[in-house]
């Protein structure tokens, strides 16, 4: 014990020890605080989960009945008398994630009847961007005219995610205003943006599609045009065919590839001659994509001949796509592959055909999932 007492005495005398001892105490304090934070957070989170579960169980039957169209709004409003406003707000906001179609309309009626839309308007002024984004998203789902009033301000938000949500919300109430505002955002390779742009165009109805076509036609920025073509593909807008036809002759490879892809996505067996001509494109990516799209759209003799010829292409991916496209066409395509695998003078065509015939025999169906080219 003597060494310990000496040690403590030494500690009391030496300033370095004193400092180190203080560091130790501070560290112990920090460890205890961090540990307490972890445990407190855990306990609070679990308590909150249990409470939410209780509320869900207690209200689910009435709320579901109302949302499914079997109950009346009065019975749903009665829930608000039984639980606190904040719980009701949480409950309904949670439903926004799952409700669709008619249920969403009924949810919106209930939400507005309880005056929660006003809370979202207030939330749209929050300094936290994700609160603003969530508020605009819900206001859009409500399809109320509130967005028309606050839409301009929302579209000027400093955060791009908020601007996108505002544009989506505006589109849901039939306005294409948002599309122009978010166009600079869309001028990026971000694939989310094409998805969002397609969604916004779809929500906006015919005006949205028309705006999308104008982006492809008039826009100078190639990035916006490229994204708009992707969005047209997602929207399957058949009215865009004349524009896509022009793009098949675009000097820019990327636009040609995207136009061919869009034609495949729209799925109308039109412009087959133009597509077949692209089988001779100088860029392999265009040829590969054309083979893929031709296989998806047509099984006529001209297509089969083009794909048979593509089996001998100098690029591996073109041959691969052509073989897969032939196998997807069905028996006629498989027959060509069989012939090529046995008789072709071209080694590459023979090899690729044989592989596809064998794989097709085993797997039954070969997906055209090749995105290279």
């Amino acid at each position: 014990m003597e060494w310990l007492i000496d040690g403590v005495r030494a500690l009391a005398r030496n300033p370095v020890y004193d400092l180190t001892l203080q560091i130790v105490f501070v560290q112990i304090g920090i460890v205890i605080i961090t540990l307490s934070a972890a445990f407190s957070y855990r306990l609070m989170a679990r308590a909150s989960e249990r409470r939410k579960d209780r509320i869900r169980r207690g209200t689910d039957a009435i709320l579901s009945e109302y949302l499914n169209g079997d109950g009346v709004i009065e019975s749903a409003l009665e829930i608000a008398d039984r639980i606190s406003t904040s719980d009701m707000l949480w409950l309904l906001r949670e439903k926004f994630r799952t409700c669709r179609g008619r249920s969403m309309e009924r949810l919106a009626q209930l939400y507005v009847a309880l005056g929660f839309d006003a809370k979202d308007v207030r939330l749209s002024r929050s300094w936290v961007w994700w609160n603003r984004a969530a508020a605009y998203r819900r206001l859009g789902l409500l399809r109320s005219d509130i967005m028309e009033r606050i839409g301009d301000k929302a579209l000027r938000d400093k955060n791009p995610f908020v601007r996108i949500e505002a544009a989506r919300a505006l589109a849901r109430s039939g306005s294409t205003r948002g599309m122009d505002v978010i166009a600079p955002l869309i001028a990026s390779p971000n694939r989310w943006h094409a998805i969002l742009m397609a969604e916004i165009a779809e929500s906006s109805g015919p005006a949205g599609y028309a705006r999308l076509r104008r982006f492809v036609d008039d826009e100078e920025r190639p990035e916006v045009r490229a994204t708009a073509i992707e969005a047209i593909a997602l929207s399957k807008d058949a009215q865009a065919l004349p524009i896509l036809r022009r793009l098949l002759r675009s000097p820019e490879k990327e636009l040609r590839v995207r136009a061919v892809k869009a034609l495949g996505a729209i799925g109308v067996p039109a412009l087959l001659k133009d597509l077949a001509a692209l089988a001779q494109d100088p860029e392999w990516e265009v040829r590969a994509q054309a083979a893929r799209t031709l296989g998806a759209l047509s099984n006529d003799s001209q297509t089969l001949a083009v794909l048979r010829s593509a089996l001998k292409d100098r690029n591996w991916w073109v041959r691969y796509n052509a073989a897969r496209a032939l196998s997807q066409i069905g028996e006629e395509g498989i027959e060509i592959l069989r012939e090529e695998s046995q008789n072709s003078a071209d080694n590459f065509a023979r090899d690729m055909s044989r592989q596809t015939v064998e794989q097709n025999r085993i797997s039954g169906f070969l997906a055209l999932g090749v995105s290279q080219g």
Binding site: W3, V8, T20, T34, A38, F39, G364, A367
Partner: protein, 473 residues
């Protein structure tokens, strides 16, 4: 004279200790910032959009397998049931000497096919390629043994999609893991070249039909220590570097890569036992050197589970290999260190990894020796020795507890309250014995590296069921 030298060494050690801890604290703070930012962003977007969109990029999942007979069928079934739109699964049997291939043949009715593929990367000879009736997305490649890197390169040659996901055959991906790890590529497909997800410990978890149905800690001591380590490594180490743009590691157990970028740099290197880190460092080097914009990111929410060693000898071999792998990667590309041309990677990440990861075992050992010598020479006394030890231990404990807090605030996978207690206890206990053991294994790795050893060592796996023994070359 000796005493002066010892004093100088003590000052150096103290400075090293302070700078290292300050660096870790900075990483910890950036982790808290980044994890919240990431969580908020992922809450804002609906991944269902990705699931239903034809715009979602297709992925080739490559699983190299060497003597994985115990887990392989379950793992492949799990891979075939991922929640994702368009993907293929390529299992590369790297010359297994057990029944890995037979199990696959029997389970999926594999049939040999004539295969045409692009030889973008040189590999050992391909023996046979198999397809499964009715399962177009599954391809099994049987090849001559060439190591994990070689098997991955073979998988890349056979892959048909522009992105490939490398996973270990004994890794279980959460069903939505691909859907989450793809997000950086969707957001920025031109610049993103690699993305990694979080690896968690599978030991102790309940696994049914290749799906982790319950995440728990289990009752084995070594996996518990490693669980704390994995939390620390993934929740604050990698996330921290993410914000700074200096991530040097994408775990071999689960990483998504842009194929053209990997092929351009020559694929996985066969000359290292740490092929995952070496590839990432090479990608950094390639893009920085060419001054091309790129990003390599760590995404915390795609999660996979991996089985960790349960006995000391296996754990020792693994740590020894990790140490060698890191040393190989860092020394091969040593020219990047402190080179402004390589930006954050050269000026921050490289010096950090060299000083506080690669050389840490040596400096820690030197620290023990110098402290003992100083104590013997009367330069430091017992109270100071105890105090300094307490400071070091408490800082380690703080990092572990902070990682547990990060886990609670973000994903909270370990649902029972008791698991939180155990994690905290093991975060404390690891400083007494476990840490010193890993130090010993890492030192062994350092020595082996200096003598040019390349072996992966023998690994014993229990499997997701009963125990088994495997041999690796």
């Amino acid at each position: 004279m000796l005493s002066d030298a010892l004093i100088l060494l003590n000052v150096f050690l103290l400075a090293y200790f302070v700078v290292m801890n300050l660096s870790y604290t900075t990483l910890l703070i950036t982790s808290f910032v980044d994890i919240f930012r990431h969580k908020r962003r992922s809450d804002t977007f609906d991944t269902d959009v990705l699931l239903n969109s034809p715009m979602t990029l297709p992925v080739s999942v490559i699983a190299p397998a060497f003597n994985e007979e115990r887990n392989i069928v379950q793992s492949v079934r799990a891979l075939l049931n991922l929640t994702y739109t368009d993907y293929e699964v390529i299992v590369v049997n790297d010359g297994s000497t057990d029944h890995t291939l037979d199990r696959l043949k029997k389970a999926f009715g594999l049939e040999p096919v004539h295969a045409v593929f692009r030889r973008d990367l040189p590999t050992e000879q391909i023996i046979t390629v198999y397809k499964a009736p009715g399962i177009d997305r599954l391809t099994v490649i049987d090849k001559v043994n060439g190591g994990k890197s070689d098997a991955l390169n073979a998988g890349i040659n056979f892959s048909q999609y522009p992105l490939f996901c490398s996973i270990d055959a004994d890794t279980i991906l959460n069903r939505d893991a691909l859907l989450k790890v793809i997000v950086p590529f969707m957001e920025d497909p031109d610049r993103t070249v690699a993305a990694g997800g979080t690896v968690r410990v599978a030991n102790g978890c309940t696994i049914e039909n290749g799906v982790v149905t319950k995440v728990s800690l289990g009752d084995r001591i070594l996996p518990l220590f490693q669980t704390v380590e994995y939390l620390r490594a993934f929740l604050f180490g990698r996330i921290g570097w993410n914000l700074l743009g200096g991530n040097l590691i994408i775990s071999g157990a689960f990483g998504l890569f842009r194929k053209d970028a990997v092929v351009n740099v020559g694929g996985y290197s066969r000359e290292t036992v740490g092929e995952d880190m070496e590839l990432v460092v090479r990608l950094h080097r390639h893009f920085r050197k060419k001054r091309q914009p790129y990003r390599i990111v760590f995404v915390p929410d795609p999660i996979c589970f991996t089985e960790v060693p349960e006995n000391l000898s296996d754990l020792g071999r693994q740590r020894d290999r990790w140490q060698r792998g890191m040393m190989e990667s860092l020394t091969t590309h040593a020219g990047m260190a402190l080179n402004p041309r390589y930006g954050v990677v050269g000026l921050l990440a490289f010096p950090f990894h060299i000083l506080f990861e690669m050389l840490a075992p040596f400096i820690e050992l030197a620290g023990y020796v110098i402290v003992i010598l100083s104590f013997t020479a009367g330069i430091i006394d017992t109270p100071f020795l105890i105090l300094f030890f307490m400071v070091a231990v408490l800082y380690g404990v703080f990092l572990s507890i902070a990682s547990i807090l990060l886990e609670e605030l973000s994903y909270s996978l370990y649902r029972s309250n008791l698991s939180l207690v155990w994690l905290s206890v093991y975060g404390f206990l690891e400083n007494f014995g476990y840490r010193q053991l890993t130090l010993y294994w890492r030192l062994k790795g350092m020595v082996k590296f200096l003598f040019g050893a390349k072996s992966w060592g023998r690994i014993e796996r229990r499997g997701f069921g009963a125990p088994q023994v495997e041999e690796t070359p």
